[in-house]
Subunit: 272 residues, 2 copies
């Protein structure tokens, strides 16, 4: 809008132009909000659809962390460490988003993601398990690409390894906290289980452990889908803080599994 | 703005009114953004002041969680559990904000907060330690107020206990993650230490453990301030994932400590 010489038009135009600039700020705030909490959670909260009193939902939870990350924190300086961490997390986040997951939280070098929350997604167990295997592939690619940088250090920085725990079932989902400060969170024994499975990957010397609820859900799919995965039973294991011993499984991709294209250069469009 | 009958005024007024409604949305988005990530972090990120490549800062980190929360998850239904959790977290969050802390993350029943990050705050160790003691007082008040509700259950729900770990020192602060999804996070051995101290509160049968860096910082204050606190040395303890044995201290309030007023009905104004 051009500023007119007539007084009333002028003041209107000035207000209008400052409104337009405020609107641009609105878009920036909206976009940055989605980056810091996940666009799906942002939109559900803004639409008033998140139950502040909590509700039971079926969800799939993925816990992931970088093995021996504390060793890295002692060997790299602040800038190197964050650059390295962000390069790893970038692959992981893109893989989760490409597989329709919600990235709920970063805790240092750990990530909590889920499926079927806060919005319904089809085939959540299948999507999450494919995601977990693709995350391992992405880390292999990362280790190859960063080989030179890793080997420049003395002693060389070993390849990154990530441990993933995956479980499914009923859980409580909602915003917890106070009126002034709250977060979308999942709570319950099925959530704790996936965190315990992730910790167990270090003890079991494997990269991915899933609960029997994941195994059972995958078994219901037709052969051409379930044959993508080889389940390795680890027997019933007692996990800290979980009353009953749990049947747990390692998972590997089989020849029927079609490797996903790298997410390295993938552009993930945010649905507006 | 009234809609005029003249055509050009009319279309201008319609645009203007829809702009005003968009602006109201902007305020809602901005406010909700601050609730979900902390207003200080929101504003630093929007101002482009958060170093995406990470930087070393002096910070004070507080880890807190509710003892035996898993027992509660098995005894209460979804709605009761979230109501109970939110009543506890409401007190904790208000106490942290009233003591100038930043509430960084909720993880189920746990909270991570810090001082001197993302913006400088004066006397961060003193503010954090006073906060920790006030949090314990608030939980005592909560247990009294909820006594009737707790005792209605059979068997009665025992009083809530929270465990707090507090440490200070250099840490890496910045946004980690990917372009599409990232979070403001602190990383480093001083961060891990406060998490380990919190876990140690269960083993040491105490409610609050602090590092020697907190003890040393408080000792530099004049007597009338440092005499608010009684430090109980627990000796040097080896903590999981931390190379050197650490001198750790329990802390109690003394007679010189002036009990803070309850935050229950406190209204915390957001600085705009």
């Amino acid at each position: 809008l051009e500023v007119d010489t007539a007084d009333e038009f002028e003041s209107l135009a000035v207000s209008f132009n400052s409104l337009v600039s405020e609107l641009e700020k609105k878009e920036t705030i909206y976009r940055e909000f989605g980056r810091l909490v996940d666009p799906k959670i942002r939109d559900e909260v803004l639409a008033g659809k998140v139950n502040a009193t909590g509700a039971q939902h079926h969800g799939v939870v993925l816990f992931c962390d970088i093995a021996d990350f504390t060793v890295l924190t002692e060997r790299l300086n602040a800038e190197e460490l964050i650059t390295f961490l962000n390069a790893v997390l970038d692959r992981i986040v893109k893989t989760i988003l490409a597989n329709r997951g919600t990235v709920n939280k970063f805790m240092g070098d750990a990530i909590l993601a889920f499926w079927n929350l806060p919005v319904e997604t089809s085939d959540p167990e299948l999507a999450a398990l494919r995601c977990a295997l693709q995350m391992q592939e992405e880390i292999d690619r990362f280790n190859e690409e960063f080989r030179e940088i890793r080997e420049k250090h003395s002693p060389p920085i070993p390849p990154v390894r990530i441990g993933i725990g995956l479980s499914a079932g009923k859980m409580i989902a909602g915003t917890v906290g106070a009126e002034q400060r709250r977060e979308y969170t999942v709570i319950g024994s099925n959530v704790n289980l996936s965190s315990r499975l992730q910790q167990q990957t270090r003890i079991s010397q494997t990269d991915l452990l899933v609960s029997s609820s994941i195994y059972d859900a995958i078994c219901l799919y037709p052969p051409e889908l379930r044959d993508e995965f080889e389940f390795i039973p680890y027997g019933k294991i007692t996990l800290k803080g979980i009353a009953q011993p749990q049947a747990i499984y390692g998972v590997k991709r089989t020849k029927s599994y079609h490797p996903a294209p790298s997410v390295a250069n993938m552009l993930i469009e945010e649905a507006d």
